[in-house]
Assembly symmetry: C2
Homo-oligomer: 229 residues x 2
């Protein structure tokens, strides 16, 4: 499949790399490819510059947002939550229309450090905002409850543990589940939380998630399993 | 121990019954015992009237909030979140001072049905509000991530699954952990999330929890396990 990953950070790179490995034709979208490639310093999270990463992934093409959007039959939003709407605006509503849009972003407000607050919560969510802004896209909120490395390699966490999808379009959720299965998530651990409104649930989980990170001594390398009576 | 359970609903009854079973001297606090006992109809959640429950638990005494507060060496807030602050005000700041106050309540806004919204979230929590309102109490947020029956009988959910504590007072958290262990929570599944600010984490988890309830076909009989890589 032709897939566009929007965002050149840790999540975007990991997703793009994994999708490439799975045989997809992957383009990463960024505002200004020249500027992205010209960076020589690690980003604010300590990730090496994009150009360094791309040396080991020459098959992943970097393109301006709109060009990436045109390329992708599936679009993956892997931007920081605070700029997701802006970035997707640059990708272009026409390039999102009728397509599956996997929204992995968290609307984190890091202005006061960790644990983060959310930019909005409780009565709204980033997933819903994206769906409202691009009503012709089929937004599926998923993978936003785990750390990057767990997203693309769930087996690094032992045993059964769960991942979630939320979205209004049933077919788009099936496409999303297919990608999750390709990443290594067994079909029976993928829980469908319902419509895109349930993005609130997994986004608000972020405060719990970061509290767990603290309790686990700073490790992000975990997930939760739903255990039934 | 002398324990006051504030609230005569499903959670209050279950907690009081279990604490009695464990050998504690339990008083349930209510606004007006005469009125509580006079009710002959099920409550809005379908629970039988309190008087019916008390027939099978004659050793649990019903008392006005303030009297219950005087009785309790430990206070358990098992009221609905929307009335918790009012109820604890009636218990009395003097009766809470220096005591462990286990806060089990969820600040649910059920005005638009299920899944509930929260009355406040993200930048505040009920746990923090209670701690601010009663600075001399040692508030520990706990048990608010599971259904009543799981709170007092974790073994009904098979295998390892977790429960959380959050509070500013380390000694109070140890007392809380002791009660959790008495309820059947093994020591190694109790996760300390830090100060009372982490009440935000477990309260915001509520939207995720109710989304899971929906995904599991309406069952509340589950919990989550944190699985580490």
């Amino acid at each position: 499949m032709k897939i566009a990953v929007i965002g050149t950070g840790m999540v975007g790179r990991a997703l793009a790399g994994r999708l490439l490995e799975l045989g997809h034709d992957v383009v990463i979208g960024t505002r200004d490819p020249g500027q992205t490639l010209a960076r020589t310093e690690p980003d604010f999270l300590g990730n090496p510059p994009f150009a360094v990463w791309q040396e080991t992934h020459p098959a992943v093409r970097l393109a301006p947002f709109a060009e990436a959007g045109m390329h992708g039959e599936i679009i993956v939003n892997a931007t920081l939550g605070e700029i997701s709407l802006q970035a997707l605006e640059a990708v272009g509503a026409a390039n999102l229309a009728g397509k599956v849009l996997l929204d992995l972003a968290m609307p984190l407000d890091l202005s006061e450090g960790l644990p983060p607050k959310l930019l909005y919560a409780n009565t709204d969510s980033l997933g819903e905002r994206i769906q409202r802004a691009f009503p012709d896209a089929h937004v599926v909120k998923t993978l936003n409850t785990v750390f990057t490395q767990v997203m693309i390699d769930p087996a690094r966490v032992p045993g059964k543990h769960n991942i979630f999808v939320a979205g209004d379009d049933a077919e788009a959720k099936e496409t999303a589940k297919g990608i999750l299965r390709d990443f290594g998530w067994p079909a029976d651990v993928i829980i469908d939380l319902g419509g895109i409104k349930a993005a609130r649930a997994t986004e608000m989980y972020a405060q719990f998630y970061f509290a767990l990170v603290g309790a686990l001594g700073g490790s992000f390398d975990f997930n939760i399993a739903v255990v039934r009576a």
